[in-house]
Symmetry: T
């Protein structure tokens, strides 16, 4: 039976948390085969000089590492 690995990434974006999540998925997709789902585990905003600077989305991604 298949075995999956779970990794946690944080994407950032000046536009939205959705865009930040997509950035993380895109970076993961460059090296990982068979991405399956992306659970969101944390949202926050980066603040610089007292003002909003970026949206950040923490994402748990799983991908197949073994398939018997």
């Amino acid at each position: 039976m298949s075995v999956y690995k779970v990794v946690e990434l944080v994407g950032t974006s000046e536009k939205s948390w959705e865009d930040a999540a997509k950035n993380a998925i895109e970076v993961a997709g460059k090296t990982l085969r068979n991405l399956r789902i992306a659970e969101i585990t944390e949202l926050d905003c980066k603040i610089e000089d007292g003002k909003f600077a970026a949206f950040r989305t923490k994402v748990k991604l799983s991908f197949k590492i073994e398939d018997n």
Copy 2:
């Protein structure tokens, strides 16, 4: 005094988690009277063929079922 029921729905959207939540509220509003609030309990992304496919928003909705 009033009694409310709580139901949990998952909306989906290719645009945003906000749009996915609105889809779930709209579907609920077709059959349920007196919707009151929509708490977000989970956000994730559906991935197909290693690429982003859709945003999903899990929503807890309460509505009045008895009003004495």
Copy 3:
């Protein structure tokens, strides 16, 4: 060493949870120096007359109150 205070605000917006968060950060920034980060602790939707009315984002903000 520095000491920070943490406050919790709820921003609202008809557009998005991102916009609601930015509203809360902007209001906080009028009176608080040295805002540092904005963790999102809750998302929900206000519903009026059975229809979507507004997005709400609960935000934990920390800011410096002492710097020895």
Copy 4:
């Protein structure tokens, strides 16, 4: 073997959280056979015009839906 369904209700009362829970159980008991237990998952107070208005108790109730 038996299978149970879990539903979530919110009772309200001007007197107490206990009374609010009993209201929810009574409404559930009108249509559901074999109620089994009522776990309390949230307590809050409704406030109107800056003053206490009602106690609310969120209740998880399970009841038998199949008994082989």
Copy 5:
């Protein structure tokens, strides 16, 4: 886009928590179309007269209710 509903059931079995989960899924499958996933949210054991009586598995099941 699709909208899903989430229901919570408790299955029981004298053999195992796996068997209890399967019982809940089987009962749900009789009336619900398009079951999608079964998350386990609680495991316990029923005890009668001081001895083990049954395994119980609480299951969150989601199924499609609207597909535009």
Copy 6:
């Protein structure tokens, strides 16, 4: 759009957790405009000399601080 602040108070009472919550709401209402809801986040009992002394209710209250 409106922005709310969230504050956390602990009310005490010799009679009940409901009475303790009402005490906290009453004290908050003296200085805060537009209280909105009171979520209960903790209940405990104070014990003195090995006996029950008071009920304590921790309450999260939100109130409007900006309304554009």
Copy 7:
């Protein structure tokens, strides 16, 4: 320095969760010296024959076991 032990009890009462908590504290006080605080960790209602039967309060109590 002192060391405390933590025990968990469930009190029951037909009147209220407060009364159920006091019953648990009273029983603990018969054998344990130096009770210190009673945190409430769970509230539920026992249901018999489809009707409310009793309030139950789960209580964490700590008491001194060593004082150097």
Copy 8:
């Protein structure tokens, strides 16, 4: 009204988590009267020399200590 005590045990088994839970219940049943329910709070596997060694099940058991 009755008062219950809650104890936490960890059972182990080479066969299954179910068998580990039953071992814990059996040991508890030797000295405790009126066991009532066994909630599962943690599952893990013991690993020795890089290989699976045993299943472990953490169990919360409650039993009657006073019945007025």
Copy 9:
């Protein structure tokens, strides 16, 4: 002193959650030295065509990466 790394895997099995966990441990053991413990963080069931398809067990495994 030693330093450990923690990885999260999901094993699958048609037989049981125990078997799914063992599959994950076995795959991990092929490349990781000094596996220490396997905490279970999630259990679910995969459903295909409305019927049970597989048990899945999410496992946190730690292994030594440095030993001074």
Copy 10:
């Protein structure tokens, strides 16, 4: 009966989390009367240029605001 307010501070220190907590308590004590307890809700380390820079301790402090 008394009413307490709860505030959340983050102390920092190059020495230890204990020292960071004491810094937060000392700053709070300059302006708040009747501090009662300090619960620790988060610990972390600040990292600068890839190296440890400071310990941070998030602290919930309660203090009396009304005493009837």
Copy 11:
């Protein structure tokens, strides 16, 4: 197979949370055989007369009670 019991203690110390934990372990070790691990479940500070008075560490300890 072995069965373990889990007990919860609170150690105190004027020096550090580490020292408070060690005090709890030392007291437990006087009467309990085969202590196995000490998980930390809560840290706080006792405050007296508005000043830091002691560090407190809540510890879950497990020990073998049966070994077949």
Copy 12:
């Protein structure tokens, strides 16, 4: 925009949880560029032969993996 990866390590030390955290950060810093923050997710004590043996600190570290 940047993307970060999150890894979880456990440091150990005979001196303190602070020292254990620093050991984990130091080991991570040997191979990972741009470490950003170290959140503490678990503290425990290793016990050998019924006596304290070592402090262990579980740490979540994030570091930049992509910077567009």
